[in-house]
């Protein structure tokens, strides 16, 4: 195969790359002031772009007037977003990142509102000019010409603003060291609002420039793969350099177009392009790791401090009885459900149970070990892929085997986490999930380059794979009811396993390494092995959950493992309570169950995840688990009240004050008191 690069491909790649570059510049702008990867960067401006269409067609506005209004709207959206997220100023950056995911989903909602959405959806996006030109036989449309002219001007203007204005100086100071910038008189919060306002407007420009190519209704400009491309460019710029990020964006566009021109073939789609993309991302992360680490440490230094750690089981026997009774009743009700509900709901039940297991796997990895994975469905995909190849194996063998194999893959992904962490790990795991979906699963068979041997590692049929019906000890599990029970059993066993890890020494090692790596190492805990252990355990769970998911859905395609589901699982864990076992299950129930009750329209789904996510992070850091614990306390107090009728009710011991303080602050044992300790050799 020869490699060719006609000028038209080069130019087209550059035009697409300009959009990536603009997005990347927006990401960098926000990162420099807020130290967060803004997953809503694309969505900030989409509302405005959609509104522009409405103004232009429905209200008959002049294009430029409509554009001005749209840009103002986008700037306002950016500023308001910052005001909302500002409340998270002192929270771990990872939480803020998850909040931006929620934000992007909320913003998506706005585009469906009737006063923003245009009446007719399938009209061409308005373009103010009608210039075109040819390169070879390739015709460049007015939209592309517009991009070619406007994008560089916008970036140069932005760069000038940051270089020359006092706001720009403040932004640069904050990028270096927010704490000292604040001490030397930079109005940190206002500066960050300005940055978000700019980013909002920039995002609108991006959306307006990127939209003419798309003929259908634009609602979501920033799909995970587009975001990943922009992130790649931003990472090449080290998350700080605007010009490098912009140029890198153009480069990414050119490289991608060139690859697509040369390597796309009907049999394997864009698989090899995605592979190259993933490798590029990994390379950018690893090469940039040292400089990224420097910046990351400022934000990551703060403790996990979710407020959830205060959930310690009280020694109160009554409270424990209440808790156990609650769990028992719930389990009984759920176990009886398949008798009364139909096939559809039995399928839903197995799905919720499986999502529960996946969420638990993330509790181990993110909640305990502090490693943010946005690619959990990549691991699930590995498990499902194994199931599709070995569906004839008995389940008792297949589940642990797939789990173990996925654990190995997970450790490989985890190896990158040794060099990069926090937000960058999130990016690389997202890349991994995309790579699994679009490259590994989508390629049924491929030829190993040097030895010319064919390996069939992907799904047998990427479009629609049908899997044989499973059986457990001779019992056929093909009915939806049987599968629901089986999933419930898997979930219960998983919970028991995770509880053992929590109470018998695994969790404390993971948390220690997360909280203070250096001290844990000096105390004799092998840091590297412990981090990889978290990946192995998490991958193991996600792997066998993938097997279950494959059997529960019976027929699946690569879309079953879309990276957006990984983000959904992150939402589950955050909504439930980041390091809580019941929280993960409650989160799965909330995000999978609610849509089932209120209908499964995309609107409801995004409402439950987007609005819920932002609201939970803002107002309920302990998540649903916190509500459940408080409910348990209430019931306990009620029971106590009935028991001791007549005497005043006992105040429930609040297990989770919003900001726990040491109640014995003033009475800590003095060293003098401890000086008298007598200690036999332990």
């Amino acid at each position: 195969m020869s490699f060719s690069l006609p000028p038209s491909v080069l130019l087209e790649g550059a035009i697409v790359g300009l959009d990536y570059g603009l997005l990347a510049v927006g990401l960098v702008l926000i990162y420099r002031t807020s130290r967060v990867v803004n997953f809503a960067q694309g969505q900030l401006g989409v509302v405005a772009a959609v509104f522009l269409v409405k103004l232009y067609y429905d209200y008959g506005f002049n294009y430029w007037a409509a554009l001005a209004i749209a840009l103002a709207l986008a700037a306002a959206v950016g500023a308001v977003s910052e005001l909302v997220l500002r409340r998270l100023f002192n929270r771990p950056r990872v939480m803020v990142m998850v909040a931006t995911i929620g934000l992007s989903q909320v913003l998506f909602l706005f585009t469906v509102f009737p006063f923003i959405r245009p009446k007719k959806l399938f009209r061409a996006f308005p373009v103010p000019i009608n210039w075109t030109f040819h390169v070879g036989t390739f015709l460049f449309s007015p939209g592309e010409v517009l991009t070619l002219i406007v994008a560089p001007i916008v970036v140069i203007a932005l760069a000038a603003f940051i270089r020359l204005s006092s706001w720009g100086l403040a932004m640069r100071a904050m990028a270096e060291n927010a704490e000292s910038a604040r001490l030397s008189g930079v109005w940190v919060r206002r500066t960050s609002t300005v940055a978000w306002t700019l980013a909002g407007a920039l995002s609108a420009v991006t959306a307006v420039l990127a939209s003419p190519g798309q003929t259908s209704a634009l609602t979501e400009v920033l799909s995970p793969d587009l975001l990943l491309l922009a992130l790649l460019a931003a990472l090449i710029g080290g998350m700080v350099s605007l010009p490098v990020a912009f140029v890198a964006g153009i480069g990414v566009g050119v490289v991608l177009d060139a690859l697509q021109w040369n390597f796309t073939n009907p049999s394997s789609g864009t698989a090899s392009v995605e592979l190259v993309l993933f490798l590029l991302l990994l390379a950018a992360l690893l090469v940039r790791a040292a400089s990224l680490q420097k910046g990351a440490r400022v934000g990551e230094r703060s403790s996990w401090a979710m407020g959830t750690a205060a959930f310690r089981r009280t020694g109160d026997a009554l409270r424990r009885t209440v808790g156990a009774t609650g769990v028992g009743i719930t389990l009984l009700v759920v176990a009886l459900l398949p008798f009364v509900v139909g096939v559809g709901h039995s399928f839903l039940m197995s799905q919720i149970c499986i999502y529960g297991v996946i969420a638990l796997s993330l509790t181990v990895l993110t909640g305990w070990s502090g490693q943010v994975s946005l690619g959990q469905f990549g691991f699930v995909a590995v498990g499902a892929d194994i199931a599709s190849h070995f569906s004839s194996l008995p389940l008792v063998l297949l589940l642990p085997a797939a789990g173990a194999a996925t654990a190995l893959v997970s450790i490989l992904v985890g190896l990158t986490a040794l060099r990069i962490r926090g937000l960058y790990l999130a990016v690389s795991t997202l890349g991994f999930a995309l790579f699994m979906q679009t490259s590994v699963l989508a390629t049924s068979c491929w030829t190993v380059p040097l030895i010319h041997k064919q390996i069939c590692s992907g799904l047998p049929n990427p479009e629609s794979t049908l899997i044989g019906s499973p059986s457990l000890f001779g019992i056929n599990l093909s009915s939806a009811q049987a599968m629901a029970w089986f999933s419930l059993v898997v979930l219960v066993l998983s919970v028991l396993m995770v509880r053992v890890w929590r109470d018998r020494g695994v969790a404390r090692r993971l948390i220690a390494v997360r909280d203070n790596e250096v001290a844990a190492g000096s105390a004799g805990i092998p840091v590297v092995r412990t981090k990889l252990l978290a990946f192995a355990l998490s991958g193991f769970m996600a792997g066998y959950a993938g097997v279950c998911l494959a059997f529960a859905t019976q027929r699946f395609s690569t879309d079953t493992f879309d990276p957006t589901f990984s983000i959904l699982v992150v939402s589950m864990v955050v909504i439930g309570g980041l390091d809580s076992i019941p929280g993960a299950l409650l989160g799965a129930l909330y995000l999978e169950g609610l849509p089932a009750i209120f209908g499964s329209t995309p609107t409801v789904e995004f409402l439950t995840s987007g609005v819920g996510l932002v609201a939970f992070i803002l107002y309920l850091p302990g998540g649903l688990a916190q509500i459940m614990h408080q409910l348990g306390d209430l019931v306990t107090a009620g029971v106590e009240h009935i028991r001791t009728r007549g005497s005043p009710p006992v105040e429930p011991a609040d297990p989770a004050p919003a900001h726990p303080v040491d109640p014995h602050q003033g009475r800590s044992p003095s060293p003098a008191a401890a000086g008298t300790f007598s200690m036999a050799d332990p």
């Binding site: 203070n516 044992p669 050799d681």
Partner: protein
């Protein structure tokens, strides 16, 4: 942090766990950060069972020296030997298993772990149980966990930490956190103990109580202690050898008496004034009723 697998870890285990204080040989040690030589050619032998105090102005390389011994920063040149083992062969967690135990100046511990879990962690480091046995709750895993909890219960009792057992260490006062740190040191069974400013962040009056406390720690753990400290009287009272550092180099070393008279040491750190020596009041009456003096020169190094 080097690779995952580590062959030398098996070596000490084969000879059985060693006990008793260890001797540390520091030979022409250089630690460099870029062009800066934070520790510049220090040679020092710390005899088994001694208490050696390391003093010097901020930035003189004291903490970096401890970091080098515990393996947190790499050596540029020189050698570190613990008894006859070359420490360069061991990554930090393996050094901990050799008996090199370290306390940190900031004493941050693990903010989200409870006091009980923090102490159990020391036991985890000494008695490892693989995850599979834990997951399947094998008899030996259950027994090991029970024994760990017994050992931790004893320590919690003797340090008076019962009230704080289930508190997150992040919510404790600095003084209480130091106690938790000392408790974990006792559990870790050190042979060489590296203490980085154990009195930092503690009131002057309480700092005086540290002298009997550290003596007791020395006795109970039966270890060698290398102590970095700004409280000069405490160091002179406690240590058999005092080492003075300045800009990464060792300028004086000897018994407290010798160092007190050493003009270089006085110039480097003691400021040629008797005032600094009396920060904690007269050394003879360090029982706690001495009038509180001005704060020790400088906190944090």
């Amino acid at each position: 942090m080097t690779g995952v697998g580590s062959a030398p870890a098996a070596a000490p285990a084969a000879e059985g766990p060693r006990t008793g204080p260890a001797r540390l040989d520091i030979d022409e040690l250089v630690v460099a950060f870029g062009g800066l030589r934070a520790v510049d050619g220090v040679s020092l032998t710390i005899e088994a069972g001694s208490i050696v105090g390391l003093i010097g102005a901020n930035g003189s390389g004291k903490s970096t020296l401890l970091d080098a011994v515990s393996g947190i920063v790499p050596l540029a040149e020189g050698r570190l030997r613990l008894d006859h083992e070359d420490l360069a062969d061991y990554v930090p967690h393996e050094r901990a298993r050799l008996g090199v135990v370290r306390s940190f100046q900031d004493c941050r511990l693990y903010p989200e772990l409870s006091v009980e879990d923090t102490l159990l962690l020391c036991e985890d480091a000494r008695h490892r149980i693989d995850v599979l046995s834990t997951t399947l709750q094998m008899p030996w895993a259950r027994r090991a966990e029970r024994q760990k909890r017994l050992a931790v219960d004893r320590v919690i009792g003797s340090f008076g930490l019962e009230r704080f057992r289930s508190h997150s260490t992040g919510h404790l006062s600095t003084g209480t956190r130091r106690i938790v740190d000392l408790a974990s040191i006792v559990l870790a069974n050190p042979r060489l103990l590296l203490l980085d400013e154990p009195t930092a962040g503690i009131a002057q009056r309480e700092a005086e109580a540290f002298i009997p406390l550290l003596r007791r720690l020395h006795e109970v753990t039966d270890s060698t202690i290398l102590l970095v400290e700004h409280d000069v009287p405490l160091v002179f009272e406690l240590c058999s050898t005092v080492v003075v550092m300045q800009t990464g180099e060792m300028v004086a070393a000897g018994t407290p008496e010798e160092v007190r008279r050493d003009p270089r040491a006085l110039a480097a750190y003691l400021g040629a004034s008797e005032e600094a020596l009396n920060v904690s009041g007269p050394i003879a009456s360090s029982s706690g009723d001495a009038p509180p003096g001005p704060p020790p020169p400088g906190e944090g190094g």
